[in-house]
């Protein structure tokens, strides 16, 4: 399992706990563990988009399961980040149908523009470019996922604008 010693400020706000309890209520009372994936999404969203060991331990406590049950799930699914990530993570779909329409060249363009290699975070912590497997947008390639949303039919010009919008705070990452 990927692990970092970096500390994370854990803040289980009332709003967050209310949402967690609502999610737990979607399952029979003796099946609280079923809420694990949705709960991990919620706590990750509320904690700079990553999960420290301490945060996963907190989730285990809330769901009344063992910490290892959380670790094994968090390390299995690709959407849980076990170390800090860039504020704006550009997740390019690089599976074949998208590549047919130029994803690889657009990823190169974006990396060059931001001055990073794939996977690296810019020095200001704002951006990260990663390649991911199929995002289910094959007809609208090239595309990327940013927060809760898809940005599709991208061109270098649209990438430039997207980067500018991110820097200027015009991008909403989550649909609340």
């Amino acid at each position: 399992m990927i692990h970092t010693d970096q500390k994370q400020n854990i803040n289980m706000t009332e709003t967050l706990m209310n949402r967690i309890n609502e999610l737990i209520s979607h399952y029979p009372s003796d099946k609280r563990k079923s809420a694990l994936l949705p709960v991990l999404h919620e706590v990750q969203d509320a904690h700079d988009n990553w999960l420290s060991i301490e945060l996963m331990d907190k989730v285990a406590e809330i769901l009344e399961i063992k910490p290892i049950e959380v670790y094994e799930v968090a390390s299995f699914y690709t959407m849980y980040n076990l170390k800090p990530i860039g504020k704006f993570m550009f997740e390019f779909c690089r599976t074949s149908p998208c590549c047919l329409n130029g994803t690889e060249n657009l990823m190169d363009y974006t990396c060059d523009k931001l001055g990073v290699k794939e996977g690296e975070i810019t020095s200001d912590g704002l951006f990260q470019v990663v390649g991911v497997e199929c995002l289910g947008a094959c007809g609208y390639a090239p595309m990327l996922q940013l927060g809760d949303f898809y940005k599709e039919n991208l061109t270098p010009e649209k990438m430039d604008q997207l980067i500018t919008d991110c820097k200027e705070g015009k991008i909403i990452l989550q649909d609340k």
Binding site: P28, S34, L37, L63, F76, L100, E104, C134
Partner: protein, 455 residues
């Protein structure tokens, strides 16, 4: 123009909202099923319709429903598989995003038929905005009295929730999906027992794809017999096809099964022909896991018959000369596409997505990716092509779930139909200059013997 039963209202302004959906006849199937039919009668209509599971396997939906264990006395569940992750496939997202109440109506009617009082829609985590659309639609349906206690005064109760995954293709396999819904890693279970006997929390469970469930309201409203009149042979009804690649009009289309592949490819109503006017080289008709077809087998079967968009016609000739309808993920390649690179790309996908439970899949998919990568990058060895064939043949059929087969089939088909391209990579590594090698210099122009590219 093909009959539309799933997308016929898709362009109605505001159809995403409950009010507009209801004004356009929405939820009529729930009323009809609960007030005028017994659950068994609903199952019987679905059986009569001939509807086959639209997730990829094509198993008859009504028959699957009839397997559910009603004698155990345990709670029963319906789980909608909205984990759409098959490369080339993006149809379910379209349906859920633009007409979410159709799926919810289908879930209520289908749950009633199965006697399920607690049902879930398991959606892939990446579709987070769609997850929230569904949550809002469920809240609307509940406020209108279609969910909850004593629906329509019939005494039937149903709670429906959306559950999000977190990025794992394997969770599209029904038992892995159930494991994931139980809050675990998505490791497939050995079958039997099948979910209809022991599924979610060991209770009898039916898992159906989004498109399958969304077809149920029309069947209940119009009868299974009417549905069976649409389509051809045992490929009844309509099918959503998601088209991508080198075509003029990529997107999601609803077609009547039995439409010719030629018409689907070339008419303006559908794909509009090839983009950039380059010749057609290959086609994957049903998502990345099904065999690729070379150009000379796309419009005609090996017997010279017109190739149709149907389960039977697309698989005509078996894997030697056919493919599968699968999930309807229709990927089109022109002559600038490198088959080796494409096959390596898919191998990387399956290696990444293997859950790691079975050795042939865990290790084999990695070997496929590694060998394909070195061939594609000009470092291949003469024996590598046969090595690839050997590896894929040892994965197929030797794993708990079909992911091993899905990883194996694309490699086998690529070698079967395009072996000369693999040989070209091995013999002329100096020509494999970069990843765009066939974009800048189409394979068809290289004067390689046995080229199967036709215009």
């Amino acid at each position: 123009m093909s009959k539309k039963i799933l997308l016929d209202k898709i362009n109605v302004p505001g159809i995403k909202t409950y009010e507009v959906y209801r004004q356009n006849g929405g939820y009529a199937s729930v009323e009809k099923a609960m007030k005028a039919m017994t659950p068994d009668e609903v199952v019987e209509e679905v059986k009569k319709s001939g509807l086959r599971g639209r997730g990829g396997a094509g198993f008859p939906a009504g028959m699957k429903w009839s397997f559910i264990d009603k004698k155990s006395g345990k709670p029963r569940h319906l789980v909608c598989n909205a984990d759409e992750s098959e490369p080339g496939t993006f149809k379910d997202r379209y349906l859920m995003e633009f007409i979410p109440h159709l799926l919810i109506e289908g879930m209520i009617t289908s749950s009633f038929a199965l006697g399920a009082n607690l049902s879930y829609i398991y959606i892939r985590g990446e579709y987070m905005w769609v997850y929230k659309i569904l949550e809002r639609a469920i809240a609307e349906a509940k406020a209108a009295g279609w969910l909850g206690k004593n629906i329509l005064g019939t005494g039937y109760d149903l709670e429906l929730y959306v559950h999000c995954g977190a990025g794992a293709y394997i969770c599209g396999e029904e038992t892995a999906l159930i494991e994931s819904l139980e809050g675990k890693r998505g490791n497939p279970r050995i079958k039997p027992p099948f979910p209809a006997v022991s599924g979610l929390w060991s209770n009898p469970t039916v898992v159906n794809n989004v498109e399958t469930i969304a077809s149920v309201p029309w069947i209940v409203n119009n009868s299974g017999d009417e549905y069976a009149k649409i389509g051809i042979g045992r490929s009844t009804g309509t099918k959503l096809i998601s088209a991508s690649g080198h075509i003029k009009n990529p997107g999601v289309y609803e077609i009547e099964l039995g439409l010719s592949v030629y018409e689907f490819m070339n008419s303006d109503e559908y794909l509009g022909g090839m983009s950039s006017d380059r010749p057609l080289k290959a086609l994957i008709p049903g998502g990345s896991s099904v065999p690729v077809l070379p150009a000379d087998l796309i419009y005609k079967t090996a017997n010279g018959e017109d190739r149709l968009m149907s389960y039977e016609s697309l698989s005509d000739g078996g894997f030697a000369t056919g493919s599968m309808l699968g999930s309807g993920g229709f990927i089109v390649y022109n002559d600038t596409s490198c088959i080796v690179r494409n096959t390596w790309n898919f191998a990387r996908f399956y290696h990444h997505e293997s859950c790691g439970q079975c050795s042939p899949c865990r290790e084999g998919t990695g070997w496929l990716e590694k060998v394909l990568h070195r061939i594609e990058n000009g470092h291949g060895r003469e024996e590598d092509i046969d090595l690839l064939w050997s590896i894929q043949s040892k994965i197929e059929g030797n794993t708990i779930c079909p992911l091993g087969d899905a990883a194996s089939w694309p490699v086998a088909a690529a070698i079967r139909h395009f072996r000369e391209e693999f040989e070209y990579h091995v013999r002329f590594p100096e020509r494999i200059k970069n990843r765009d090698h066939f974009t800048t210099e189409p394979f068809s122009s290289l004067n390689v013997s046995k080229s199967k590219v036709i215009t």
